[in-house]
């Protein structure tokens, strides 16, 4: 198939960017979206042009490195799919595709489609961990955890930190990501000691980074490649206010 792509090109963090149009011919429907961009980049390199910069690593939908907004949807049109797992068969010959980076003040563009997600790391550093010693692998089994709690924690732990929730949110809010982390550790016994300070610190760090406030559009849940539920946001709202009024520290 032949496609016309409009891709955001920006030379560096302070450069002004703009959409540039590229025609790509003979795209196989078996390619992933990133492979299609690889082909375009080969072509650009051959012509002596600068290839399009985009983030990627595992290319199997588990690492959370890739991400771009395709025709207004983070990770593209298919639900619960990262862009590296998006296949060209979802598009058809003659399609025009707009490709833009995540847009948020807290995710500044570094180059083309690559944004700096250091703000997520800094949120994690304020509370996305536990400080108790959990021992070695076999010690994990000595602490019984109910199936319900284990499943609940796993649902939250599925978050790969890609940032699509922020990109999808009309307010660039990081609530779904942060709630997944707070909810994951909060569902497990090891996470209880720091539960209250964790919610407090991670929430305040979100604000410091300049993410917006949630207005419950639920766009994040729909865009999340791992289907993280907004139920975790409700829980974080509870945990945060509980930590305000009853928090120990």
């Amino acid at each position: 198939m032949n496609l016309r792509l409009h891709i955001w090109r920006q030379a560096g963090p302070d450069a002004t960017g703009m959409l540039k149009t590229y025609d790509v011919a003979n795209v196989s429907e078996h390619m992933s979206f990133l492979e299609m961009l690889d082909v375009l980049n080969e072509d650009l390199i051959g012509k002596g042009e600068i290839p399009i910069a985009f983030d990627h690593d595992c290319r199997e939908g588990i690492c959370g490195t890739c991400g771009m907004v395709i025709n207004g949807r983070p990770h593209g049109p298919v639900a619960k799919t990262t862009v590296c797992q998006l296949h060209m068969r979802t598009f058809k010959d003659g399609d025009e595709i707009y490709i833009e980076p995540w847009r948020a003040r807290a995710f500044p563009v570094m180059r083309d489609l690559i944004v700096d997600r250091g703000s997520f790391d800094r949120i994690m550093q304020t509370g996305g961990f536990i400080s108790v010693n959990t021992g070695n692998a076999q010690d994990g089994n000595t602490l019984p955890i109910s199936k319900i709690n284990a499943d609940h924690a796993m649902d939250a732990a599925a978050c790969i930190g890609c940032g699509a929730c922020v990109a999808a949110c009309p307010n660039s809010s990081a609530m779904l990501f942060t709630a997944a982390k707070v909810g994951h550790l909060g569902a497990l016994p090891q996470g209880q000691t720091e539960r209250s300070t964790r919610a407090m610190n991670m929430v305040l760090q979100m604000d410091v980074e300049g993410f917006g406030a949630c207005t419950n559009h639920l766009e994040c849940e729909a865009a999340c490649p791992k289907g993280i539920s907004v139920e975790f946001i409700a829980q974080m709202n509870r945990d945060y206010v509980a930590s305000v009024f009853g928090g120990r520290d």
Binding site: R105, L204, C214, A234, Y240
Partner: protein
């Protein structure tokens, strides 16, 4: 503990303020609507109700309610403006293309519908409560007294409502504002419960249903007055 100022300024805390005050306003609206619907029971009931509101607890109840509403309203608008400004700032560079999946016109224009409601509320108070606009219909003027069955002379609120809604301009503004209010509530109610964290997988569908029900119910309820007046059902 963190300094209270940090907490107070935080997005989630401001969201709680907005949700709690918003729900207070919703409760008030339901009470207000119930009172308004007395118009269908005739002049005696409506005027008697208006009179009893002003007399309750020797006249202090109405001032307590007004004070509470004012505080709720000011806090609601304050947090709404604060958060809306932060949310705008959180995305300095817009997308060229957007393709929303779950958000709606109503949910994306809460600040606009809210601000228009604010303008409407000020106008509404100037009209029905203070009589500074459309003063020719004000129930507090001389010649507009109504004598209740028990002999008490009270302002004829019933006549004020009917005379006002016979004016097309007033009715049009009123109906449009109620549509905006309906749109605001359509998103607001479910949003408030989610903000307060009282939702979970089981009750979320119910809560998400409540918004449209209340939004349409409140808007239709309030609109039934001017519509009934125009249709000549109450006179």
């Amino acid at each position: 503990m963190r300094a209270f100022g940090d907490v107070w300024r935080s997005n989630i805390f401001q969201k709680w303020v907005m949700a709690l005050t918003g729900l207070m306003l919703v409760l008030f609206l339901i009470a207000h609507l119930t009172g308004n619907l007395l118009i269908f029971m005739g002049a005696e009931h409506m005027n008697e109700y208006g009179h009893s509101l002003r007399e309750l607890l020797h006249g202090s109840a109405i001032w307590l309610a007004r004070g509470g509403l004012l505080v709720a309203f000011v806090l609601h608008v304050w947090s709404a403006i604060l958060l809306t400004r932060r949310n705008r700032a959180a995305r300095p560079q817009k997308y060229v293309k957007t393709d929303w999946r779950t958000s709606t016109m109503a949910s994306r224009s809460m600040a606009l519908s809210g601000l228009l409601i604010l303008v409407y509320v000020l106008y509404h108070l100037a009209h029905f409560t203070l009589g500074t606009v459309h003063s020719q219909y004000y129930a507090g003027q001389t010649g507009w007294e109504y004598t209740l069955a028990n002999g008490t002379v009270v302002p004829d609120v019933y006549r004020m409502v009917i005379a006002s809604f016979q004016e097309p301009l007033i009715t049009t503004l009123y109906v449009l504002s109620m549509v905006l209010l309906g749109l605001h509530l359509n998103h607001a109610v479910a949003s408030a419960f989610q903000t307060l964290g009282v939702t979970n997988r089981r009750i979320s569908p119910l809560v998400r249903f409540l918004g449209p029900v209340l939004g349409i119910g409140v808007a239709l309820g309030f609109c039934s007055l001017p519509l009934a007046v125009i249709a000549g059902l109450v006179h």
